[in-house]
Amino acid sequence: MTAGDDVERPGRAGEEATAGPEPVRGRARLRSAMHPRATRAQGVAALLCGVLGFAAAVQVRSTQDEGLAGLRQTDLVRILDDVSERGARLQAEARDLQETRDRVAGNDRVAALDEARDRARVLGILAGTVPARGPGIELTVTDAAGQVGSEVLLDTLQELRDAGAEAIEISSVGGPAVRVVASTSFVDAGQPGSGAGVEVDGTLLAPLYRFLVIGDPSTLQTALEIPGGVLEVLDQRGAQGVVTQEQSVDITSLRVTPSPRYARPAEADQGSADDG
């Protein structure tokens, strides 16, 4: 059928039989064929080689140019399937990413930030790091007999906390003021009954004491006035407590944010694991 077919058998047989002189003969034949001669064989070979070169060049060019145009219908269908499937996949991915982006960058982020700020403000009020304002009471405690010691002030404070006080400041009228927080301590400055005053968190407060309290005014007042309550105890000690309800109490004294040296926030999930 082909030249390769026609020559394959004799060529291989001849090569194996006469391996030695064959290459020389082959080269000589090639050299002789290289000499341009206007034989019919040369012309025909040139023509067919020209056709081959032409077709190959055209094919290479069309392959480079056209891409999809030269493909078969089945191939095109397969490619179309692939492309549409990939398109659907990418579309789904794009949708996911878009949702994620909206969640991260959209309104939710602003809301989260606002919530965090609100929390920080609320915690700041509890920790005494930000000023507070709101309805509440002013409690003034006179101490004519010098009988109001640290334990009385502490009881007063507990009573106020029980009644829902949210921010408390203790001051001596005309003197220093101390913001009351969870760790606030009361220490008698001198001998009991001396009237030397009370150290609150290391700050010496002398009578008259003044409590500024933010909370529900009527609840706070009621808590102080109950029988056996703070005001009655003060009365028994020769002191006097005066409660005035205020529409707006300003607590301006601040406390530096304590930075814990040892305690660190524990991971939430770790804590629950320990609990379980």
Binding site: A3, V7, G11, C49, L52, G53, A56
Partner: protein
Amino acid sequence: MIAALGLVLGIIAGLFLEPTVPTWLQPYLPIAVVAALDAVFGGLRALLDGIFDDRVFVVSFVANVVVAALIVYLGDQLGVGSQLSTGVVVVLGIRIFSNAAAIRRHLFRA
């Protein structure tokens, strides 16, 4: 020599004339090129064997191209066109390699 010249001329003509391949020919042209390449390698080997015959070369060249195109056409009609053209290319590639090996042994003794 003239054959090599013809090959170069054909390539140049194909590159510079930029003819458009007709649609009906598009599936067959690549296979036909590979088949013709096989025929040319066979002819070169026959030349080195000293049994080159221009009549055999022409017939094998044309028959190669026609049969290759026919197989692809038949494959297209049967719905296995791409597989069958792959098979044709593989077979022709093997023949080209074996012919090239024979030519190499002739020229380089290796």
